[in-house]
Amino acid sequence: MHVEKGSKAVHYESGPDMTPLVDVVMVLLIFLMMAGKFDGLKKYLSSELPITSSGPSNTPPDPTQVPKQDIVLNVTSPTARTDTFRAFYGRNINADTEEQLATQLKAMLTEKLAAGTKVDEIQLFIKPTRNVIYTNVIRVYAAAGRAGFTNIGFQTADG
């Protein structure tokens, strides 16, 4: 190709060269997409009550604390290692599904609230037998939470 002497090469490009920037940015993007983990927010059932033993406590009650009403909800598994459960408490609660239990617990709580008891003064203890599977324990816990109980804990199993 013949270029005339004295003539100036025409260059119409202006601004910085973006190619290296794009390269680096793409590498960063791919790294973040591969290495990043999106958990979302985990769900938790939170309890502020420690597990308690069955039967009367030897510890004298704290005089500064408001006396609590304890409800001990027994949970059993009709047959060993099954996906079904039965929850019962006195004559008020006798349920074998989460929905049924939530409804019965809600009715019982409404009664107690109507009688003047505050929800903070009620402690609900879940007392499953040892063979009840964890998923059913969580179902009972969720039913109690849905019913409106705020102080939910566990009690040691006997059988």
Binding site: V22, V25, L32, S46, V132, Y134, T135, A142, A157
Partner: protein, 169 residues
Amino acid sequence: MKLKKPESHSNHVNVVPMVDVIMCLIIFYMLAAKIGVDTGEDEKLKIPFASWSKEIREMGNSLLVNVSENKDTKEAVITAKVDLTSPRETLILEGGGSGRRLVEVLKRLRYGKDLRPGGGGENADIPELKLVIRGDRDMSFGVLQRVLMAAAEARIKTLNFQAEAKPTP
């Protein structure tokens, strides 16, 4: 004087919009993605579904324990990432087996090196210590009960049971 609009003689694709979009994506990933965060969760465990649960945003001062049950021996299998720098380790409840005892680990975190209330520095107490239980949905309550009793012995007040949101039918 009449100005003439200069003609564009560039043969290249205009990459500026693409760079804008990519920069937005990078900022999103940098803010939203968790990189190098390991709380010690055992992803193999199938945690239970729950129809009612809470979202907890602040998980400081907490220890996550993975709890499951050995199908053959019916013994508890507990793992946790106790130290940030060390890998997940197996913890034992009592009796035989190799590994640190869960109750001792909990007491150490709760009360410091001296394992008793009071003290400062490495013996400082953490009253707000939380125990996060990531339990296998098929384990029996008998296994969980022993973990809860260890937590009660270490005077841990807050227990969080990890669950999955119930899938909509």
